[in-house]
């Protein structure tokens, strides 16, 4: 019971931070979204020990574990664009599949090579 209350309070804290960050980005017309500023802020607060890890950890774990849930309404929202999908749907899906495959292959294989090279250097 105690941990449930703790988790809910911590999630409320993240919601508050997100709200404040959005107000700030709106006010200063920043190009960076509030959520990215929020990551930087919480990271700095943790690093400088202003907030302790166990004050936010449970809530963060819950939010991250259910991350996919928060994408679902946007995915359902695709049905609003029936016209676009009828007209160009197949082409759009082809672009997404091929290009995502290329991005993942490149990024993944470059990372593998760089990690291997570092290992070899260490071995010498």
């Amino acid at each position: 019971m105690k941990s449930i209350v703790k988790g809910i309070l911590q999630i409320a804290f993240f919601i508050l931070v997100s709200f404040v960050m959005n107000v700030i980005t709106d006010f200063f017309h920043l190009k960076i979204p509030g959520s990215i500023l929020g990551i930087i802020l919480i990271f700095i607060l943790l690093k400088t020990k202003v907030i302790k890890l166990n004050w936010v950890e449970t809530g963060a774990n819950w939010l991250l574990a259910e991350l996919l849930l928060f994408f679902i309404p946007s995915a359902v929202g695709i049905i609003q664009y029936k016209d676009l999908l009828y007209k160009n749907g197949i082409q759009v899906v082809i672009v997404v599949i091929l290009s995502t495959g290329l991005v993942m292959t490149c990024a993944g294989l470059v990372a593998v090579q760089l990690a291997k090279r570092k290992e070899r250097k260490k071995a010498l």
Binding site: F43, L46, L63, A75, G77, I94, G108, V110
Partner: protein
């Protein structure tokens, strides 16, 4: 009010059911990110409920994406040493991936004769929605179209990622994280956390870096 709650509950119910299905049979195409929206879309079509009614509840879940994104600060802090140790590998491979994402989206769209505004809308599709929409408007795309292509990338990326890992035998935690974060933003990152916390954390960093690289490069390139 009742409709709002009803659609939130419906989404939760189908989401948890599809999560159980995925745990019972972890096939890539059974990812909750594909199964849940498909079931909900079918329900809406059968019952003739328009999307905007559904979204009275749905928008509250979408709003939670922001605090959830901020929560990435916690694993970032916990694994900061690992990230620092591999900074060069992460920066280089994410940079190449982000560049590849923009160029290949543009070239393949051109090859398939899609019109220019649709092509521009697809260029930032690998990165997190708010920045992608921003980039889209900077280079002449349509931000709402970008948002759809971004979510498609998330769904398809969660399916393609594991296939690429298998195809190229990528067994390195670092490379797996970079692959998901650069290729499929938050949705990919959630997949990377399924593999290991290190992969997930590297994926969250890669997601942020890819977004920043794209934001800086896209207006120069397109």
């Amino acid at each position: 009010m009742i409709i709002t709650l009803l659609f939130i509950l419906l989404t939760l119910l189908i989401y948890y059911a599809s999560k159980r299905l995925y745990r019972w049979s972890p096939k890539v195409y059974l990812t909750p990110l594909l199964v849940t929206p498909v079931v909900i879309v079918l329900l809406l079509l059968v019952t003739h409920v328009p999307f905007h009614s559904y979204n009275l509840g749905g928008k509250w879940l979408t709003a939670m994406l922001q605090p959830a994104t901020i929560a990435f600060a916690v694993p970032l802090y916990k694994y900061f040493d690992v990230l620092k140790k591999h900074a060069i590998e992460i920066l280089t491979s994410v940079f190449i991936g982000a560049l590849m994402g923009m160029l290949s989206s543009a070239l393949i769209a051109k090859w398939l004769h899609l019109d220019v505004s649709l092509m521009d809308s697809m260029i930032p599709r690998s990165i997190t929605t708010p920045i992608a929409m921003n980039v889209s408007s900077l280079i002449g795309g349509i931000p709402t179209v970008t948002a759809i292509v971004v979510i498609m990338t998330g769904i398809l990326g969660s399916i393609i990622g594991p296939l690429i890992i298998r195809l190229f035998h990528i067994d390195n935690d670092l490379a797996r994280g970079v692959l998901f974060g650069t290729g499929a933003h938050g949705a990919g990152t959630s997949k990377a956390f399924e593999l290991s916390s290190i992969s997930g954390t590297i994926s969250s960093v890669s997601m942020i870096l890819a977004a920043l690289f794209t934001l800086c490069l896209a207006p120069l390139l397109f």
